[in-house]
Every structure is written in structure tokens, then in C-alpha cells.
Amino acid sequence: MKTTLSRRRLLAGTAAVAGVVLAPGVTLIAAPEAEAKGASSDIRWGLLIDAGKLTPEACDAAVAACNAENGLEPASRADATAQWIRRIDVTDPQTGHGVSIPVMCQHCEYPPCADVCPTGASFRRADGIVLVDKHICIGCRYCMLACPYKARSFGYEDITDQKSYSPRGKGTVQACTLCVHRVDAGGVPACVEACERAAPGAMLFGDLKNPDSEISRRVSQIAVTRIRSDLGVEPGVLYAGV
């Protein structure tokens, strides 16, 4: 039995099959919208936290505001409760001097969490905000190992009653979003807003790339540090007085 298939027939057949398979999908590729606006690298959102103006109560107010804003509820276990921002009391063992500062995701320029994420769920937006795309997070928790600031939490149990603008769930990783839902609408993060009432001027939010923004003017006048600056990850959260 001869099994010959002429080249012409094979090519024609393949083209026909390919056409039948691909045709339905072509209709779904809409023409690209004219200039989809959105996060741009012309902006770098950042925070300036002045420890000298802070009080422990102001820090607690900022933490409480974040929990309320994002609907963070305690989990069944304290060590499994998500915490996007926390108050850290830092004491110098030699001098005895202590400060309380709020620490959250530092929104690094070179985030180790984004480097290690296998699916790219942990990513840095063009305007500097580091987020977790929970649609593609597989819950491996490797980013939690990699973050130098212990900024990430995991969804250990079923979550309900989420805020409509702050989705989060069981089995995926979550962290401070710099209140991206507020920022994208022109607002400021909830922690900054609450801290402003409790300790005016202690937390400042703004565009670090804009030389005219209040934050840029302030950081050019005072000495600022970054937590673990030796790691070279270039956090977007700057501290003064720590």
C-alpha cells in the first residue's frame, strides 16, 4: 500500500485546518484602544515617614486605618493573621533610645519578591507600586521568604466580606497595595490619611519623580534612610529620624 501525500496537498490541508482553528479567535482581537492611559513610569509613588514627628498612637492609628480600609480581619490564629502595615518599636541597645515607626511593603525599585515569583504574579507597576496579581498567584509563598521586610501575608483560610476595591482570598499572597484604589483615583493611602490626623506631617505621600511635589521638596532638605539600604533594592518608602 503506497502512502504518498503530495507536498501541495499537505500544505493546503494544514492551512485549511489552521484557518478553521484560528478564525474564531481573530474576531476577539479588538483594535487597540487609543492610548490606554494608566500607570506610567513618569511617576514614582513614595512615602516619607518622619519618625521624629511620630507617636506610637499615630502608628497604631495608621495600622487600624489600613485594616479598616482593606477589610483585614483577624484569622483563627494570631500568627496567620494578615498584617499589611505594622508598628515596629526600634530600640538602640547601646543608648536606649527608641522610636516607633510603621513598616509596610516598601515598594522597592528592584523587588526581590518580583524576582522570585514563578508566575510573575508579584510585579512592580510602572509607577512604582508593587502588587500581587492574585489571578495568577499559585500560593507558593516563595515571595514571603524573599521579602527582606516581612511585608507579605498569606490567605490561610476562606475570606468573606472583602471590600469591593480590595479583593483578597484563601491560597494567595497579599500585601500593602499603597492603597492603589485610592491612588489611582487621585487620593492618598489610608494610613497616611489617618496618621495626618494623629501626627501631622509624620507621613507624607507623593510622587518622588516630580521635583515640585511636597515629598520631593522635603526629602531634598532632610536626611533620609531606607530600611536595609545595603540590599540595594531601592525602597520607595523613605524614613527620617531612624
Partner: protein, 419 residues
């Protein structure tokens, strides 16, 4: 040396079916546990935001590292040309495949979203060491399968050296990457070290060979196939070398950290103040996994004993699990340093050593992975010609000389010297 023959095991005895049933039961329990944890959430495990990885990862990474090392036996035969190891290459390939499958099963089932396990293959971040690992694991399966094929197909034996070399290089890269999973993490004092890659390679040699020796001895014992002293002696001596090298790397890593003041905290934690971690390090990794096996392998009163060799293999496996626990959990338990030189405290467990109590679910999941590997081995030797019919000295030892009755002591001395 006579031509080695391979034959499927008969596998029809009640004991065989009992073994199959027992392993299958453990596998089913492991899978059911994974389903439960997926449904209820990881809250039912002992893991927390401070210790996000736990006992399942200890088992998984041990199995993966041992899988890579188990292929070493085949490499010694194919790549380095040691004749005695050549008949062992089929079993070595099978063990590598099975252990890797068991380890990956545990790792995949522990994910927060195991339904998305294939996502990293479609939507991947090329900078992630995990993605490199996934690619190496997939390639590992393909290469081991290819290696088994060229080992078993008499028409392709000419390819067994090139494929063996490829497998060897692939393994080195794979195990280095597994070490780099921890070595690349700058955020943790206990890890962030280049030495973790070669250290994991040496660990893999030791754990893989220990598992291989154990399974070889058990398989030959239970199928009444002769296993000569020469093979056992050569394997256990090689195991001794690898265990000694593992101890060396452990020493290098801890001593280096001990010298640098920056790392004093974490080294003090692991070596002295870590509670369970310290006990597992000294008792588990160093004593049970290192010193005791070396004594059993080389100390003259034990050196000739086969049961000592088997026991040494078992102790190395236990020591390996302890080492993985110390590396993974110990590395996570030690607090992250946000403010070097300062004391910190917070409501999110900053500045304190984190506790971890594994739950039974995690143990079942880990054991389920071990059972998957063993089940694959038990089934494969029944349907494929992987286990040699005989590894008696007369058949397997390249230096064997039949001892004439009068010269028996001399011949024994010669073979002992050749081993």
C-alpha cells in the same frame, strides 16, 4: 565479570500485594490530606506568616535532592566508566525518576492554589529560580527516561555514555539550582550564601546513594536475589566519602558564618540557642547523619558488616531529613534583620524567634510523597527488567577471582584490597 542479566520480579506473593496495598494506602491518605488542606486552607497546618514553609517542603526538597543523587550511581558507571556500577544503572534511573516524582507531588500539592500548578509553565517569570527549577525538573524526567531507554535497548548502548554525560551535567545544574532556591534569598541570614549550591550537590550524592543502597539491599533481600559483598562494600565506601564531604561543607558554612560578626546571631541560633533546631542540627544532621554513619562504614569492627552498611544508609536518610528541617525551618525561624544592630518588637512577630509545630496533615502529605516514590519503584520492578537477577561477587565484581580451597585467606585479602 559475567554478563549481568535482568529480570522482572515475580511479584505475586501475598507479601508483595501487602506492600503494594500499604503504599497505596499511604498515597491515598496523602492525597486526601492535600484535598482537605486545599479545602480548609493552610490554617489547619502549623504554617504561619512567619514560617510559610513547613514539613511538606522538608520532605519534598529531600526527595528532589535524593532523586538527583540517586542518578549518580548510573553516572559513575556511564560517565566515569566504573564497570561494577554499570549493572546498577537501571535501578538508579528508576529511583531518580520515582523520587523526583514523589518530591514534586508533595511540592505541587502544598501550593495555596494547586489548581494553578501548570501556570508557571505557561505564564512564567524567567528571572525566578523556581522557573529554572521547573524546567530542570521536566528535563530531568525526559533525560532519565531517555537514559533508561538507552540502557535497556541493546541496540542503543552506544548512546548510553553521551546520554549519561548529559544526565550528569543536567543533574549538577538542577541540584545547584535547588541549592540556589535558598542561596539567592538575601532576606534571610541563614541562607544568602553561594556555598549552598555545591553543598546541595554533595548532599544529593550522599542522600541519593544512601537511598539507593537501602533499596538495593531490601529489594535483593525480599526477592531472594543474591547481592554480593563486593557491591555492598563499594557502595558503602563511596557513601562514606560523600557523608564526609557533606560534613565538610556543613563545617565550612557554619565556621564561615561564625567568623563574620554579622552572622553571629543566626549561627548562635542554629548551633546553640535554637531549641529544636539546635537539637536537630547536632543530633540529626551531624551525629545521626554524619558521624554515626562514618563509624558504621569505616570503623573496622563494623566495616565488614552488611547490616552496618544498611543501617548507615538509613541513618544518612534520617540525617538528611534533619538537615532539610534545619535549613528550611531554621532559616525561617530566625527573625529577619530589618534594623541591624537594633532591638525590635512589633505585633507581627518581628525580632523574635518564630515557633513552628508541624501538624499531622503536613506529615501525611510528606509521607504520601515518599509513598508515591516507593510505589512507583515497587510497580516498575515488576513490569520492567530493572533489577539484576544476581549481583553475587562471581557475577558483579570485576576483580573477582574464585578462591581455590587452599588459598582462601589470600584471595579474600586480595578482593578486600581491591574494593
Amino acid at each position: 565479570m559475567a554478563k549481568i542479566e535482568f529480570l522482572e520480579i515475580e511479584g505475586r506473593s501475598p507479601d508483595y500485594y501487602a506492600l503494594l496495598g500499604g503504599l497505596a494506602l499511604v498515597v491515598v491518605i496523602g492525597l486526601a490530606t492535600a484535598a482537605y488542606v486545599d479545602h480548609a486552607g493552610h490554617i489547619v497546618t502549623g504554617m504561619s506568616n512567619q514560617i510559610p514553609w513547613g514539613l511538606p517542603h522538608v520532605f519534598a526538597i529531600f526527595l528532589i535532592v535524593a532523586a538527583s543523587g540517586a542518578l549518580n550511581v548510573a553516572s559513575v558507571g556511564s560517565v566515569f566508566g566504573r564497570i561494577m556500577y554499570k549493572p546498577l544503572s537501571r535501578l538508579s534511573g528508576l529511583l531518580a525518576f520515582a523520587l523526583m516524582a514523589g518530591g514534586l507531588a508533595v511540592l505541587s500539592l502544598d501550593l495555596g492554589r494547586p489548581d494553578r500548578v501548570f501556570l508557571p509553565m505557561i505564564h512564567l517569570n524567567p528571572k525566578s529560580i523556581f522557573v529554572w527549577n521547573i524546567n530542570f525538573y521536566i528535563g530531568f524526567f525526559a533525560i532519565v527516561a531517555a537514559y533508561l531507554w538507552v540502557s535497556m535497548d541493546w541496540r542503543l548502548t552506544g548512546l548510553s555514555r553521551p546520554v549519561g554525560i548529559l544526565a550528569f551535567i543536567w543533574r549538577l545544574a538542577l541540584t545547584s539550582c535547588t541549592g540556589w532556591v535558598f542561596g539567592f534569598i538575601v532576606a534571610r541570614q541563614a541562607w544568602d550564601a553561594a556555598v549552598m549550591a555545591p553543598m546541595f550537590i554533595v548532599f544529593s550524592f550522599a542522600y541519593g546513594l544512601a537511598v539507593f543502597l537501602l533499596i538495593l539491599m531490601v529489594a535483593c533481600q525480599w526477592t531472594d536475589r543474591p547481592l554480593g559483598d563486593a557491591v555492598v562494600r563499594r557502595l558503602k565506601n563511596l557513601l562514606g566519602v560523600f557523608v564526609a564531604a557533606s560534613l565538610y561543607f556543613t563545617l565550612v558554612m557554619q565556621l564561615t558564618n561564625l567568623y563574620a560578626t554579622e552572622h553571629h546571631g543566626v549561627t548562635r541560633f542554629i548551633l546553640f540557642e535554637g531549641g529544636v533546631i539546635t537539637v536537630l542540627f547536632w543530633l540529626g544532621q551531624v551525629l545521626i547523619g554524619g558521624v554515626l554513619p562514618l563509624i558504621l562504614i569505616w570503623y573496622p569492627p563494623f566495616a565488614g558488616s552488611r547490616s552496618a552498611a544498611g543501617l548507615a544508609g538509613g541513618l544518612v536518610v534520617l540525617g538528611g531529613l534533619a538537615q532539610m528541617y534545619v535549613t528550611i525551618i531554621g532559616g525561617l525561624a530566625y527573625p529577619q534583620i530589618l534594623f541591624p544592630g537594633k532591638q525590635v518588637s512589633s505585633g507581627f512577630f518581628d525580632g523574635v524567634v518564630n515557633g513552628y509545630v508541624p501538624s499531622f496533615w503536613e506529615l501525611f502529605l510528606g509521607l504520601g510523597g515518599v509513598a508515591i516514590a516507593l510505589l512507583m519503584i515497587v510497580v516498575a520492578v515488576k513490569f520492567l527488567r530493572l533489577l539484576p537477577l544476581s549481583l553475587a561477587d562471581a557475577v558483579a565484581d570485576p576483580h573477582y577471582r574464585p578462591a581455590p580451597a587452599a588459598e582462601a585467606p589470600e584471595a579474600k585479602a586480595e578482593t578486600a584490597e581491591a574494593a
